[in-house]
Symmetry: C2
Subunit: 286 residues, 2 copies
């Protein structure tokens, strides 16, 4: 089986590692606009061979793992090139736009829209790691629009990666993911910004910041090239989450200004319920 990874970053590279591990007979090809990424992926043994778009005619599976703004252009091009038996899936963090972009493509049935909820704050081929997807959720959209045989091929791959599948409509995906992923990133970036702006003398940050700060600003290390187009694609949902988040922060500030610390206590106590929710996540991922 010939598997082509377009975009040799954290997600594409990690998929290549695990697919190769469970299917040693797979020949793994890498396509990347950045030629140094192809070289790195070859050096790291993530791919067997570098390739170009034109080589996709030989593909059994094509994984498009590039920023979402690039994916909406590249996926239709890939579908133009591949043969009728090829499975093409993307892994982007927004799903409505990609689904509408391919809606009337003659090879729509070769495409599956997916979003594996996995990652770290790092990027590029060197960030690729084994077992990244084990126990994680993969959200699959509009499954009924993909040819049944190719659904099966995809599910076998996801199963071997250790993923749980959840089916959702693209619009519902984009709405929920804005809350549980996109907003977290903005909250973290703006927290990092607020502290960096204030603490001109970085030694003060080094010395006083503990593991709590580290955990809260971890996502502020994420790649702007990946995240800017996500916010652009999911603009309306993200703005809605931001409005609600800002309102909650504003209310917290007003309670403090009014010395209403009993309500502050209640706000925190009510939110402590997140413990059980996070315990649910941990059960899932471990």
């Amino acid at each position: 089986m010939n598997v082509f990874i377009i975009g040799l970053g954290l997600i594409g590279g990690s998929m290549a590692i695990d697919i190769k591990k469970t299917n040693p007979s797979v020949k793994m090809f890498g396509v990347d606009a950045d030629k140094s990424h192809v070289e790195q992926a070859l050096d790291l043994g993530i791919i067997d061979e570098g390739a170009e778009m034109i080589d996709l005619t030989a593909a059994d599976v094509v994984i498009v793992s590039i920023p979402v703004n690039a994916a909406i252009k590249v996926v239709p091009e890939v579908l133009d090139i591949v043969n009728d038996e090829t499975l093409v899936f993307d892994v982007g963090s927004t799903k409505s736009l990609i689904c509408s972009e391919v809606a009337s493509h003659p090879k729509r049935r070769n495409f599956l829209a997916t979003h594996p909820i996995a990652g770290t704050e790092f990027s590029g081929p060197t960030a690729a790691i084994a077992d990244l997807f084990k126990g994680k959720t993969n959200i699959v959209c509009e499954v009924e629009k993909t040819a049944f045989k190719l659904q099966e091929r995809a599910m076998k791959i996801f199963y071997e990666l250790g993923m749980r599948i959840r089916y959702m409509e693209p619009k519902a995906h984009d709405k929920h993911i804005a809350y549980v992923s996109h907003l977290s990133h903005i909250s973290s970036f703006m927290l990092g910004k607020t502290v960096i702006e204030k603490e001109k003398n970085e030694r003060d940050i080094f010395d006083m910041a503990g593991s709590g700060f580290e955990s809260t600003v971890r996502l502020a290390k994420s790649s702007p090239a990946m995240w800017t187009p996500i916010f652009e694609h999911n603009k309306e949902n993200v703005i809605e989450t931001l409005e609600e988040y800002i309102n909650n922060l504003q209310r917290f500030k007003e309670l403090m200004e009014q010395d209403n610390f009993s309500s502050i206590y209640e706000e925190m106590q009510n939110t402590n319920r997140i413990k059980e929710i996070l315990a649910g996540i941990s059960i899932k991922t471990n």
Copy 2:
């Protein structure tokens, strides 16, 4: 040496474990308003004996590890009881108020104001763990107001716990810590609140939330009983940080509304510098 821990929670309990480990001859006494905590600490072997305030006459060292609103009442009472050779230190997350409360106490020179930057999101005696303070920073305020011999006794303990010492004025401590600790907690609590409010069907959170969300809302598990008085004591600084954080989020939202995604990219790229800052923290704590 008789060491008394007032408040057998995460910090007090963890100090007891490490002090006992490096000084097996220490007799460890536990005082807690919640008698079940004394029982738990005895069962866990964290303390050798339960005690009352009146027993503090026999103390060589008293560690006051209770919420900051309780500490400002209890520390002067402790100083009233202990003898002239006893070291008393607190571990609270705000320092201005405790320092002003004891400023004119006749036994001021027996007291040292400290803030070990260490912890987890858990609380109570069962949360106490060994090596919690290893490689962490302990901020010591107004060191010159503590008797030299008692400073030495305190530094020996902090050294044995594996801590680095940093000296600061209480006002500077409270201002900086608002940015690198207190704001992180509010950001996390309000993020948790925003998502819980929206996602009435918690299964959606379970299934779609990944490790990024988990990391960003981890601090929302923290104890309201500990954190409400911290926000109250540090009200002005915390409100200032909240204003700046809200302004940054507001600006991010406006850039999105204006479709100014090149500026959004820049905001994130500038904040990526947090990588180096966090690397600094990790070097320190590992």
